[in-house]
Structure formats: C-alpha cells, structure tokens
C-alpha cells in the first residue's frame, strides 16, 4: 500500500472518531432521503418505482457507510447492492411484466391494521430500547484501520485469518445459490425441437393455410397488430391476429361504426360500377 493512501485513511479514521456539524447536516439531509426512499419502496404501486426508490436508499446508506469509516463496505454497497442486486431485481421485473401496477387495496381482512400496529409497536420498542441504551460516543475507526494500514487491508486481514472459515462457507453458499438458481429457472426440453422444415411439411400434410396468414389491421389507425383484418363481407377474421395476442385476450374489437363504414364503401363502389344487388359479393 502506498503511503498517501495510508495518510488519508488515518485522516478519515480521525474524522470518523468525532461527529462534526457537517456530518450532522449530511445525516439529516440524506437520512430524510433514505426514509423517503424506504417509504416510496413500500408505498409506490409500480414495482419499478419501488426498485428505484430502494436503490436511492441504498446509495444513501453507502454514503453513510463511508461517513462511518467503512470505506470498503461503502463501495461494496454501491457495487453489489445498487449495482448487482438491484439490477437483478429489475431483470426479474422485466421478466414478470414491468408495466403492471400493483393494486394496493388490501384483500386480507385486518391485515393492514395488524401490520401497522405491529410495525408501530416494534418501532416504539426499538426507539425506546435505543434511547435506554448507554451508548457513549464514537471511538472512531482510526486505530482499528491503522493497525493493518488502512480499512481495506484491515478487513482483508480479519477476513482471511479470523473469519476465513466463515468466508469459505459463504463462498460455498454463493456457489450453491448460483447453481440452485440455474437449476430452478432451467427448463428441460423433453422432446426434440421441430425444425422449420418439419413444420412446413406438417402444414402441407394437414392441408391448411399453405400461404402466409392474412395480415391484420386493414383499417387500423395506429398499432394495428392487435386489430383483426376484415373479410370481404365485413366480418373480422381471427386468422389475422397473432395467436399469442388472442390467447392473452389482447385483441381489439373492430367497432361496429367501422364495419358500417366498410359496408357503405362497398355500397358506393357497387353503385359507381352500377352493379345490381344480386351481383354484389
């Protein structure tokens, strides 16, 4: 380790030993942000918003770690939590459906009141307990960090000597977790995937829809994929809309007004050509 780093560490250790007015300002300002983030996590209807609020809280906490002389943890908090873990959350949110907003209406009778009572009770108890405790002042991290020449070397020294068994076990835990997650999300394919050629041959053998399916949204005004195309007689054809949308129930109905317009256009065309009623399709 370089000497410069060591001196800054020592200064920081000294700084962590006492609380300055600056730290108090920082605490109150960022503490408010942290609480607001936490409340937002709990109260916002969209999970993505919750995740962002949580990320904000975590960043604030990272700053608090740094202020408390835990440089290593502060950085790890940023990298691991706001970086990796929150990204994981967001990935899963994407998988599950990012746009859906949760209903905050309580379905379990009395759950909200019970939860509020418990939370309030616990909060009062914790605050009361902390208030009762004889805490004294900060000793500061200076001596502890200086012993091994800095916060990171200090943590490394403890981690690889005193806590090495726990460290190894945690490593094993992480490996197992990774393997477990892979196993859980893995889906075994139990039959051979049909190739495109086989699908085509199958279609020919069945004798249905050899040409491509008809296109949707003949009279669409905007995103037309979910709007069925109309047959010559004006009725909507289910063939034109993607199977997936049909299954999801996301097919838009063609309004009767539009159908009437189609019929009127047909009539005008027929009149223009002077065809009789019986000749019309």
């Amino acid at each position: 380790m370089s000497g410069a780093l060591t001196t800054t560490d020592a200064a920081a250790g000294l700084l962590a030993a006492a609380t300055s007015t600056g730290e108090a300002v920082q605490f109150y300002a960022l503490g408010a942000v942290a609480v607001a983030g936490a409340l937002g996590t709990v109260a916002l209807r969209r999970a993505v918003h919750s995740a962002l609020c949580l990320a904000a809280t975590m960043v604030v906490l990272a700053v608090f770690y740094l202020a408390n002389g835990a440089y290593f943890l502060g950085v790890v908090q940023i990298v691991v939590y706001t970086g990796a873990v929150m990204m994981l959350f967001l990935f899963v949110l994407m998988l599950v459906g990012v746009s859906t907003a949760d209903s905050l209406k309580e379905t379990l009778k009395g759950q909200r009141w019970l939860a509020a009572a418990c939370a309030l009770g616990l909060g009062i108890l914790l605050v009361g307990g902390i208030g009762q405790a004889a805490l004294g002042t900060f000793t500061g991290m200076g001596a502890a960090n200086a012993q091994y020449g800095g916060n990171v070397p200090g943590i490394a020294e403890r981690l690889f000597t005193e806590y090495v068994v726990a460290f190894e076990v945690t490593g094993a835990l992480l490996t197992i977790a990774a393997v477990g997650a892979t196993l859980l999300t893995h889906r075994e394919r139990i039959e051979k995937a049909t190739s495109q050629r086989e699908q085509a041959e199958e279609r020919v053998r069945a004798g249905r829809h050899l040409p491509p399916l008809p296109a949707p949204g003949v009279y669409a005004r905007h995103n037309a994929v979910d709007r069925p195309g109309l047959l010559p007689d004006g009725t909507p054809s289910e063939l034109t809309v993607s199977d997936t949308l049909q299954r999801r129930g996301q097919v838009r109905e063609v309004a009767s007004k539009e159908l009437a317009e189609v019929a009127a256009t047909e009539k005008r065309t027929a009149d223009y050509h002077g065809r009789g009623q019986e000749e019309r399709p």
Binding site: L108, Q111, L114, A115, C118, G121, L122, L125, G129, Q132
Partner: protein, 664 residues
C-alpha cells in the same frame, strides 16, 4: 380290534370333509358317498359288537389311545377312545339309525339343490356324535358335545332362506350354549377336584370327593344334559328345531343327539350315586319334563311339534330313570334305544306324510291318509303302538320297567314318581292316539279346504314371544300359501324312504321284547352301569296292569274326542290349559320375561349409558377440540402475509420481553 374304534369316527368325518370341501362335482353322487360312509361306520360297529360278544364281561371294555392332545405337566388331555357296552349300544344306535336316515334322506332331499351339503352335515353330525359317546374323557366328550351342537345348528337352519329356520337354529344354539357352559364348568370342577378328566379315574375317585363338590358337578352336568336333551328349564328350543328337514328331526332331535344328556348322566353315574341331592334334582327334572312334554304334545296341531313334545316327554322318562341310580340306568338306556327306533320311525313317517301332502304340517288338514299311504300308515302305526306301550311292543317293555323303577324309589317319593310316570303313560297314549287319528283316520279334510285359512292357534300373534315367534309365524304362512296353491295328492313315498321306515318299524316292534328276553339288555350293560333289581311296593303284575289300563284310558279318551266326532279344520279355542299348551306352556314367554327382556333392558340401559356418558365424554372432548380448532383454523388461512404478521408480532413481543428483562 382297538384300532377299529378310531375308524368309526373317521369314516363319517372323512365323508363330511369330502362332501363339504369337494364342491359341486360331488353333487350327483355325494349323497350316496355320505350314506356309504355311514354304512361303513355301522359295519365297523357291528364287527366290534360281535367281537365284544365274543369276550367275557370283564374284558369287554376296549381302549384306544390315539395321541396326547394337550400334554402339559399336571394337565393331561388325550384323544383316547373307550368302547364299552354303553358306548357300544350308542354306536350301534347312532350308526344304525343314522344309516337308515341317510338312506331316507336320499329320497326326502331329492329335490333340494343343496343335498350334498346336507349329507355333509349329517356325516359331520355322525362323527361328532360318535366322538361324544366314544370319548374316554370328559374333555374329548366336550368336543363331540360341541360338534353335535354345531351340526344341529347347521341342520336346523339348513333351509336358511326361511327366517323361521334361521331363528330356530339360532335359538337352539343359544339355549344349548347355556347347557354347554354347565358342562364346561363341570369339567373345570372335575379337574380341580380330581386333577383329571378321564372317565375311569374320575368315576373311580368320585367316592372320595366331598359331597358338596359332587353335588355341584352333578348339577352342572344336569344343566348340560338339560340343554342338550331339551329338559325343563332348557326345553324351549326343541319345538322350534322342527324347522329343520324331517330326517334331521328324526336323527338328531329324536333318536340320538337329544339323548346325549341321558348318556352323560348314565356315564357319570358314580358321581350321582355319591351326590343324592343332585340325583333328586335329576329325578325332578325328568318327572317335570315328562309331564310338560306330554301336556304340550296333547295340544299341538303341527305333527312334527307334537312328536317333538313327545320326544321331550320320553327323554323325561329316561332322565327320571337315570336319576334313580343303579336301578334305573339300564332301563333309561333301554328306553333310549327303543325310543330311538320308534321315534325315528314316527318322524320318518311324519316326513313321509309331509312329503305326500305338499309339506303341510297341520294335522287338522290331514285325515284319512291310511288309504293313500299304506306303508307309511303301517310303519307309523307300529311306532305308535310301540310308543304308547302296547303290550308286546318295544315301548311296553322299556316304559313299564321305568315305571316299576319309579315306584321302587321308595316311600312317598316312589309313589309320586310312579304316579307321574303313570300319568305320563296315559298322556302319551292320548296324544299319540290323537296324532294317529288326526292323520290317518277320519274324513279327508284336505279335500274340502276352505279357500281362506284362518290363522292357526299355534301362531297367536303375540309381540313379546321371543325370538322365534315371528319367524315361526312367517314360516307357517308360507306353508299355508304353498298348501292353498294346490290341493295335495297324497301318495306313498318312494322305496328309498319307505325301506328305512320298515326297518325301524321292525325295531319298534321287536327291540323291546328282545332286550327283555331274560333281562339280556340289563345284563349286557351291568358291568358299566351296575344294576339293582327294583323292588316296587306293589306287585309287578299290578303295575303292569295299571300301565296298560291307563294306556287304554288315554287311547279311549282320544278316540272319544277325535275318533267319534269330525275334527274341525280350524282349531277350537279350547280350554285354558289347551291354549297354554299350544303356547308350549308359556316357556318362551317365561324365557322372554325372565331373561330376554331383562337382558334387553340391561343392554338398552348400557347402550344409553354408552351413548350418553362414554360417547358423550369422547364426543364432547372431540367437539370441544373441533370447535376450538374451527376457530384456530381461521388463523391458518394459507396467506403467507398473515403468517408473517404473526411472526412479526412475535418478534415484537420478544423484543419487548428482552427490554423488559433489561429494565427490571
């Protein structure tokens, strides 16, 4: 020769096993197999009999030890047989009459789909009965005793589709159970007193035991005899047992099984000789039953039930004689054998009559059958003459000897017993003449049948008459319905049925005389039963004359009542005694009032107790927990968030507790 004894039992047992396990493929020939094995048993018995005759009196008893059944220190039960003159007499009676009845059943059961099974049961009965009389100890006797009970149950309920038959079988089984319990207790007492069950050792040691113990054993044995031999107070099952097929009634409920009680008392003679009080009770039971049965027999219109009452009465004679001690044992057995002949013959005759009359059993609907069934008439008539004690026929000798022995009992007792037996003889003559006249003489009442038959007096609709009453009623109505459907065409039964009747008629006529020829039978049995000459207070010719006189009186009375005047098809109301006798002198009512209703009340109150207290406690606990869990269940609503609230609340409580502990 000893080795043949086991075969006596084994032959019918083999028949039963083959017939009952063999399945349908034996349906066509199974009855002949059963009959043949019964005949084999009889042949073996005959061989052993002649062998026994060839030896002198002291060496006549044979023993066969098959194997040690329960060899335990201090408890030695053997499967061993003892063939002495007493057993021999029974073996010949059982196998002889048994074979004849097997033969008869071939014809009687011809149209029954379950004939093979019937013969299997009959063979089972023969095996059990032979085991009973051949056993060398009381425990093995008990096995046979239960075996005949089982066979009797199966055969009474053979037509199990009739509820009446099923109920009758159940009744017989239950009543017998009371007696069987007596036998079991007697065996227990013997074992504790003598330390053994073997006849030889028990009877030899009988003198040495205390009189109280012997009286108890004697009374318990008497209870057993009462159950099996339908003596008062366990007599009620025999009448209902007539629901079984008639060959069964002839073999089991007339000739053999019901006499097992007499065998038991005679076999245990040494015990009774040393316990005069028990002997007195035996005599009282015999006398009461002989009159009881005779009175009931006078009123019954059902031919089989009349004969069953007569059986009860005749066995009463035997029990009475057996209760008289050495002067009566031989006479009891002699009457037993002659009775076996004539009563079996009478039952077979009754079966033959029913066979020709569409299974009608009401004698008031018979009449004038002698012209239609000559062989049945003659054989039945000979049996009739034998049972009423017509001079020269079997019953005359055997019954007259019992009456003499009864008079010889000494003092007032002798006069009372003698009077009772004489009265019984008169009643026997009366009711048998009634049966005879109603069945074979008079106008042919079956021809002019009224279309609607009123209910028989025998079947008074009484709600509380015990288990068998409703069943019996339905059985009768079923019989009436069948009888009303077509006018019967009385006809003589086939040869296979008449042949046994003829043979038995010969026995009825000659057996008594043969046995009494120079007191041959008495001397034959004397080594086993001992014998003392009776010394009646009156000269023997006087007693014989009186017997014949009361017999003629009974016949005359019956003739006055049923011979001279036309017999109404519907029974008249009759006197109080008649109505009581029709209801078996209220025996079922008595049993019902004394035991059944009390038991029912007890069980009902126990059921009530069970429902309210026991079940109440159990169900109450269950309901309490059920209600509690029903409320607690709502906590378990399946929502993880609810559980989380509980957990969170718990955590808060823990924090509070920790802080509180710190503060204190």
């Amino acid at each position: 020769m000893e080795s043949l004894i086991g075969l006596l039992v084994a032959a019918p047992l083999l028949g039963a096993a083959v017939l009952l396990c063999g399945g349908r493929r034996l349906d066509r020939a199974g009855h002949w197999l059963g009959t043949a094995l019964a005949a084999v048993s009889f042949a073996l018995g005959a061989v052993l009999f002649f062998d026994m005759l060839g030896r002198s009196g002291g060496e006549r008893t044979l023993h066969q030890h098959l194997f040690s059944w329960i060899p335990v220190e201090g408890f030695q039960a053997d499967v061993a047989f003892r063939l002495d003159q007493l057993s021999m007499t029974f073996v010949l009676l059982i196998t002889g009459v048994g074979t004849l009845i097997h033969l008869y059943s071939v014809g009687y059961m011809e149209h029954d789909a379950r004939r093979r099974r019937f013969f299997g049961y009959l063979n089972l009965f023969l095996a059990a009965m032979l085991l009973l009389v051949l056993a060398d100890n009381y425990l093995l006797l008990y096995v046979g005793w239960e075996g005949v009970g089982l066979a009797s149950f199966l055969l009474i309920g053979f037509w199990q589709h009739k509820p009446s038959a099923a109920a009758a079988a159940k009744k017989a089984f239950l009543v017998n159970r009371v007696g069987d319990a007596g036998l079991a207790i007697a065996i227990f007492l013997m074992f504790t007193t003598f330390g053994t069950f073997a006849f030889g050792e028990v009877l030899a040691a009988a003198d040495g035991a205390g009189e109280g113990t012997l009286t108890a054993i004697g009374l318990m044995l008497l209870l057993a005899a009462c159950g099996k031999s339908a003596q008062v107070p366990l007599q009620s099952w025999l009448g209902d047992a007539m629901e079984g097929p008639t060959p069964v009634s002839a073999l089991i409920h007339a000739a053999t099984m019901v006499t097992a009680g007499v065998y038991l008392i005679t076999r245990s003679g040494a015990i009774y000789d040393a316990a005069p009080n028990a002997q007195t009770v035996v005599v009282i039971v015999g006398a009461v039953t002989l009159l009881f049965g005779a009175i009931v027999g006078c009123a019954k219109d059902d031919i089989k039930k009349a004969l069953a009452a007569s059986t009860m009465s005749q066995i009463g004679y035997m029990v009475l004689a057996a209760g008289l001690g050495p002067i009566g044992y031989a006479f009891a057995i002699m009457h037993l054998v002659t009775h076996g002949f004539f009563k079996a013959g009478l039952f077979l005759g009754a079966g033959s009559v029913m066979h020709g009359m569409n299974d009608e059993v009401n004698m008031r609907k018979y009449g004038g059958l002698r012209r239609h069934m000559p062989i049945t008439f003659v054989t039945f008539g000979l049996g009739y003459l034998a049972i009423i004690g017509f001079p020269g026929l079997s019953g005359f000798f055997s019954k007259d000897l019992i009456i003499e022995a009864a008079f010889s009992a000494g003092g007032v007792r002798g006069w009372v017993l003698g009077g009772a037996t004489l009265l019984g003889a008169a009643l026997t003559a009366y009711y048998m003449t009634r049966v005879m006249l109603l069945t074979f003489f008079g106008e042919e009442r079956w021809r002019h049948r009224p279309t609607a038959t009123p209910a028989e007096p025998d079947v008074e609709p009484a709600a509380g008459r015990g288990a068998a009453a409703p069943g019996r009623a339905s059985g009768q109505t079923a019989g009436q319905a069948a009888g009303a459907a077509a006018e019967p065409h009385p006809h003589e039964s086939p040869r296979v049925m008449t042949l046994p009747m003829i043979v038995l008629a010969f026995g009825s006529v000659f057996a008594g005389g043969l046995f009494n020829w120079g007191e041959a039978f008495v001397h034959w049995l004397e080594p086993v039963t001992r014998f003392e000459h009776p010394h009646p207070p009156l000269p023997i010719p006087v007693i014989t004359g009186a017997t014949v006189a009361v017999m003629l009186l009974g016949v005359g009375l019956a003739w006055l009542q049923y011979g001279r005047r036309p017999v109404p098809v519907t029974a008249p109301r009759g006197s109080l005694l008649t109505r009581a006798a029709r209801r078996d002198l209220f025996q079922d009512d008595f049993n019902h009032a004394a035991f059944v209703s009390g038991g029912q009340h007890l069980t009902r109150s126990l059921v009530y107790l069970d429902h309210t207290v026991v079940d109440g406690a159990v169900n109450g606990t269950a309901a309490a927990f059920g209600g509690l869990s029903g409320r607690l269940r709502k906590v378990q609503n399946g929502f993880a968030r609810s559980y989380a609230v509980s957990m969170f609340g718990g955590a808060a409580v823990l924090v509070a507790a920790t802080l509180l502990m710190r503060a204190v």
